[in-house]
């Protein structure tokens, strides 16, 4: 069975969202994923995607400052509620997956496991089950924290969102498909130059480039993905402008065409 090919919208300063979604569809992509600010905005965007024949593979829950979820206090509670809103909205709009980070960098410090954090993620997972939404956890900077979540909730129907770029940059030498491939339910496909170890490997170099424009071994990546029998979408999580000042000197049309060709090549590997 063929994997659907998807792309996320790019910076709205370059192209308004709805124009971007139209362009994604016109280029040949079949699916998309996005985040949003309000449930009404989510509803309108999903309806627009339906109108133009673009599937919505998942919502990406907020993640900036997410580490507060691991600490007692109002900030963590509020963050949890925000993600819960994502889950209930996804349920109402028949979006099957919400992608959730379990950490967000070392801000304010490297997060560690805690009962309150586990309790909050448990609530989100339970809500997902009630709403018919799968919560998919993505690989990021602290593999031990993802491991903790995957272990504590091993008897729950949680998913794994495989992020190719993060695997190479944040956790070189780790391969997440052998660990969680049996839960693979969505993908974030992007490229970068790998880890830079001058000092801080985590933020530096998360370029979110199109596949084959960096140095990731997509042959190995696709072999890993294929080994799971995954039939979900291969979705670009890339942008024209990303970190390290990297950017494509391309129009949105040319950028998405380049991205589509790269994804087609990937899907044939």
């Amino acid at each position: 069975m063929k994997n659907l090919l998807g792309a996320c919208p790019i910076d709205e300063k370059l192209i308004p969202l709805y124009d971007c979604l139209r362009l994604i569809k016109k280029t040949g992509f079949e699916t998309t994923m996005f985040d949003w600010h309000t449930p009404d905005e989510a509803k309108e965007t999903v309806e627009f995607c339906k109108k133009i024949g673009l599937e919505v593979d998942n919502f990406h829950a907020p993640f900036g400052g997410l580490n507060v979820m691991w600490y007692e206090g109002e900030a963590g509670e509020n963050y949890t509620k925000r993600i819960e809103e994502y889950v209930t909205t996804a349920g109402k709009l028949d979006i099957p997956i919400v992608v959730v980070h379990c950490t967000a960098g070392g801000i304010p410090e490297e997060p560690h496991g805690s009962p309150i954090g586990i309790e909050r993620f448990a609530r989100i997972i339970a809500l997902g089950k009630k709403c018919g939404v799968k919560i998919a956890f993505e690989n990021l900077e602290y593999p031990e924290m993802l491991g903790l979540i995957m272990d504590v909730f091993k008897n729950e129907d949680i998913g794994f969102c495989y992020d190719t770029g993060h695997e190479a940059l944040c956790t070189p030498g780790m391969r997440f498909i052998p660990l969680y491939g049996d839960r693979l339910c969505c993908t974030h496909i992007h490229d970068n130059y790998g880890a830079s170890y001058s000092k801080v490997p985590i933020v530096h170099g998360d370029c979110h480039m199109l596949p084959f424009d960096g140095c990731l071994d997509f042959g190995r990546i696709m072999s890993d993905i294929r080994s799971t029998g995954y039939t979900g979408a291969l979705t670009l999580e890339s942008g024209i402008r990303q970190s390290l000042g990297y950017h494509y000197d391309l129009s949105p049309e040319a950028y998405f065409k380049r991205g589509f060709d790269a994804l087609v090549k990937l899907s044939e590997m």
Partner: protein
Amino acid sequence: MLTLGCSLHDILGTSYAENMKHAANAGFKSVFALWNDDMDTEAYMNNAAKCGLTVESFHAPFVNYSKIWEEDDEGDRATEIIKHCIRVAAEYKVPYVVSHVISTLDAPLTSNLGLCRFGKIVIEAEKYGVTLCFENTEYIRHLALVFSTFASPKFCYDVGHEHCFTPGIRTMGMFGERLGFLHLHDNLGMNKSYRASHDDDLHRIPFEGDIDWTKTLTEIKKSGFDGTLMLETDPGHDLGFYGSITAEEYYAKSFAGAKKLAELYETL
């Protein structure tokens, strides 16, 4: 049946020589030493030979591994200590040296400098013909980086550490192709504060914790491993559990655990 081995140092107030006698009497054929610069390596090796025990590895000293990753002269000293351990292993024809890449609950950032220092350790092992193994400990990311950088080191699969420090990360899935050595011990997993703690690292005899040994041994066997089933157990990590056991009783118990592992391994 695979060879059965155990870590061998002074435990329960008895000398290592006494421990060697008990380990050999219990049925163990192989041991590894917690090597350090102060020990009389020659006496240790001679005692082992007298008891019919093969010393299969030296465990590198517990240096401050965090400093290896940091811009600190102590990192250079730690590197030299591990290199020295490798040279001594070569001198006494001990085939393996097992080292950590980190040994702390406060993970240092990975760094070029750390990679350079571990590179020196790797080269020393290659130069002296010693198989260097890196072991999984409190964090997995430093180990993954080292393995992605250096081709020659092998993986020492520490089953107990995986269970209590990094639940949800089956290291054999990532590093099984490089498996070179085993540290087998049991514990009760991570505590309910969900934060890694050395208190969880009980180093109990297999089947005295809650590790799934069928799953674990299946992964080991799948890798084609044909080395020693090497226990890394120590009653000193869980004196409350082992009560007033004597060293002799302890080695008999350990061997029974090891034999049960071997029998299970054969059935898989």
